[in-house]
Symmetry: C2
Subunit: 348 residues, 2 copies
């Protein structure tokens, strides 16, 4: 190992290699390599039951109070994209991770890493969007930090937000509580965020522009809780998209998951853009979409509460444990695997 | 303003300019420009009483529970330096910001931004140091996130840690509670961290190597609380050093501060290195040093509790409000201003 390090340092510009010895983009992609990095490096070092739960955030008990705590860094490129910018993404993303713990978002921290030479106007635009998104999500931004690095050592703005929420669900929520027979509900059409980002990067223009779906999700989750829906698991469909979310749950719980392709909503512009860009929408990141896994008996009422575009897209089954199988529109079955490499770097 | 933005985008490589239109390194230096950035961009956007307190972290009340919440991003260069690395720095720094709120550190989040091509061995070294530092500080690392950016768009590893603490002080702690007549106590010799970093960057070698002072500070603060010391303000002496910390307090509270140069401990190797490097030790960052401002009557017992190297270095006065005046070793007085530019970029 020591030799490898020396070699890296001696090369003036070492080519990125897909090995175990150095970090590649896919380690941040939310798929298999991200899982491997977590299992190989982070979990052994930080052995903690909250981390091992492998949820979107940690659930903590502080003096009898049930809190959720989560963090995300945002490195999206470009900083400003159709339907949003890195600022509202950084607020909504962390608010949503709290919501996925069944927690009402209370407050956020914001850590900025700015690149020397960044236009002050761009910073002001991003900060204004953060403030607006925080207001819309009823969350306070209470503490912050700013670092500046030399030109060429970052890429405009990186933002970290961490958030504290108050857990509102009477029972714990997470992959461990998923049961065979449960219904899997989705709150709307998928793949808009990733497609919007990649379209602008590739300079594609469509008749109807594709906008990111970035949005706060707590109010939909709150409706489920208030109505007494027995929520087993919640997961937002960010990096790695729908397929990675359901695969993670299937693997963590050792159950099978069946999806019905015909039920998964995708708008025509997004479907067309995915075809042009060579993307599988099941793997494309969303920033305002989540799945709720609930008892089948409550599926219909839960779906109504989740919003006008919510639908049941599948079920948890006893068959094919740890595997996600999708019935295609023409009636065949195919295994939907977890994202293995990196479909879209720097999507959030 | 719009013109400026266009101009920036048209230039292939715009030179960094010290204007109000773009970010310069000193905006992250912890001195005057950092203050201006906070006042111009962040405070107006995020108007929140917790932010306006301008403390190291936010104090929150959640269901009757008094919590502190804080965040810091770490961009230190080099990643590994004499006496520590970015990993223990990221744990101790945030633990210390909680301690400065009078809060027992409970848990941390960790957000990693990794540069493609980073050696896995370096990452493992840093993560192992974080785990060790967390254990030493009795704090749990409960949630995390990893992003990877393309080679050349970051600098190895950036880490953000956010922390939650349980406030233990019976009365609020912060600049607003400082009183004329109070004693200013310091827990040890200053300027080791910044000098250690700059020495290694400049390739200087000294007879006795200078090590960073990175260390957790909660146990010293806890002793003050347990002994019933009436703590008015706590501040760790990170970016901008001792001078920026006392200036911030003097300005926030509208009081004068007097320092006694002869009382401020600096080791001979650090003093010598500062002379060679052209640094004023009063402005050099520390990562294990703090000041406690307490009633004069409790100064002696508080100083003993803060450790064997703690000393009183000055007092809060009614004279020269918002100004820090230091009596030099030869008896003269000089105004100690806040750091105005950037003495040492990327020190933490």
């Amino acid at each position: 190992m020591a030799d490898t390090v020396k070699k890296d340092f001696n090369l003036s510009c070492p080519a990125p290699r897909l090995t175990n010895d150095s970090i590649v983009l896919a380690h941040g992609g939310g798929g298999k390599l991200t899982q491997q990095l977590i299992e190989r490096v982070f979990l052994p070092a930080f052995a903690d039951p909250a981390l091992e739960a492998r949820h979107d955030g940690a659930s903590l008990e502080v003096a009898g109070l049930k809190l959720a705590f989560t963090t995300d860094s945002y490195v999206v490129r470009p900083l400003i994209f159709p339907g949003g910018n890195i600022g509202d993404l950084a607020v909504n993303g962390t608010v949503n991770d709290l919501a996925m713990c069944g927690a009402r978002p209370l407050c956020l921290s914001a850590g900025f890493i700015l690149e020397e030479g960044l236009s002050m106007e761009v910073l002001e635009t991003v900060v204004a969007s953060m403030a607006k998104a925080a207001e819309a999500a009823c969350v306070r931004l209470v503490t912050g930090d700013t670092k500046v690095v030399d030109k060429g050592k970052a890429d405009g703005i990186f933002i970290n937000t961490a958030g504290i929420g108050a857990i509102q669900t009477p029972l714990p929520v997470g992959p461990a509580w998923v049961q065979p027979g449960d219904a899997i509900l989705l709150n709307g059409d998928i793949a808009a965020h990733g497609t919007a980002i990649l379209s602008v990067r590739e300079g594609l223009e469509f008749e109807s522009p594709i906008l990111s779906d970035t949005a706060p999700l707590w109010s939909a989750v709150e409706k489920l809780i208030d109505a007494g829906i027995e929520i087993h698991c919640l997961r937002d469909l960010t990096r790695g998209g729908l397929s990675s979310a359901v695969n993670e749950i299937a693997q963590a719980r050792g159950v099978g998951i069946r999806l019905d392709e015909a039920a998964i909503p995708i708008t025509e512009p997004v479907r067309g853009a995915c075809e042009i860009l060579g993307l599988d929408p099941l793997y494309v990141a969303n920033e305002g979409r989540f799945i709720a896994i609930v008892p089948a008996a409550q599926a219909e009422s839960a779906s109504t509460l989740m919003g006008p575009d919510a639908v049941q897209i599948g079920s948890v089954v006893n068959d094919h444990p740890r595997t996600v199988v999708m019935r295609s529109k023409i009636g065949g079955n195919r295994v939907v695997d977890m994202l293995s490499g990196e479909q879209l770097p720097r999507i959030c």
